[in-house]
């Protein structure tokens, strides 16, 4: 995975926030993931297969997801199921949209959602993972890309 690959995912993420919330997110400087866990309250994970292999995930706190869900649905009281579902849908959209760059043999799985601050998210050991810190409004979240 090179810098161009990472940019595809960052662009796709920025596009998601702008399109859905009409407000830009900003991406911090990416870094190589070490053993320190990168996991917040809800995590949406997508497996990648086909021409490229690996996985990506986005991890965020409930407060940020609630605000986005509120923008999408226009209601204040949202169930936990909506919040959980949204983080999976964000991961799905980000990874699905990068097919514009990689083509249709870049295959994505349905999302898996992890609720609660797990110790860490298991990624393939043999592939380097990059962490992209994200800020939207005053919320922090992380995009983690692990691509062969």
């Amino acid at each position: 995975m090179n810098e161009t690959d990472l940019h595809f995912f960052i662009d796709s993420t920025m596009n998601y926030f702008e399109e859905i919330t009409n407000q830009k997110a900003s991406a911090g400087i990416p870094y190589i993931k070490d053993e320190a866990p990168v996991v917040l309250e809800y995590t949406g994970i997508i497996g990648i297969s086909g021409k490229r292999k690996g996985s990506i995930y986005i991890t965020a706190n409930e407060a940020m997801l609630s605000e986005i869900a509120n923008i999408i649905l226009g209601i204040d009281k949202l169930g936990k199921e909506d919040i959980k579902d949204l983080v999976g849908e964000i991961a799905n959209t980000i990874s699905g949209n990068v097919r514009q760059a990689y083509g249709s043999d870049f295959m994505i799985s349905v999302p898996v959602v992890v609720e609660g601050q797990a110790r860490d998210i298991k990624l393939p050991d043999n592939i380097q993972s990059f962490v992209v810190p994200l800020t939207w409004r005053d919320h922090k979240s992380f995009l983690v890309v692990c691509l062969e």
Binding site: N15, Y16, E19, I20, A69, I72, L73, G74, E81, D82, D85, L86, G88, E89, N92, T93, I94, S95, G96, N97, R99, Q100, G103, S104, I108, S109, V110
Partner: protein, 125 residues
Amino acid sequence: MQDRIKVLIVDDSLIIREAIHKHLKQFNIEVVGTAEDGKVALEMFKATSPDIVTLDITMPEMDGLTVLEEMLKIKSDVKVMVVTALSDKATGLKAIKLGAKSFLPKPFTPDKIRDSFQRLIGQNL
């Protein structure tokens, strides 16, 4: 009064099903069902015979393109709007070639889905 257009909403994401339902409320439609995977979608399709289906592609059990082919075998004049994160041109062309009438990439705004739906119902429903 014109009959309401029967719509089936298919997406594995709860929030997307809710969003589509909400954004299409202004039209003269009846949402006859919402389905979270391809198998359930086909069962509902057989049971409700909708006029229009909004259909995701990446779903558990059966993917949307397979569902699209099966639906068209059952009811050849159903209008299917594919709504998917797989926004590459090849996927869009494949969906249209298989018989979808419309292709809307995610993420979508309320205006985009309403415009796509408006164009769809304008096609001699």
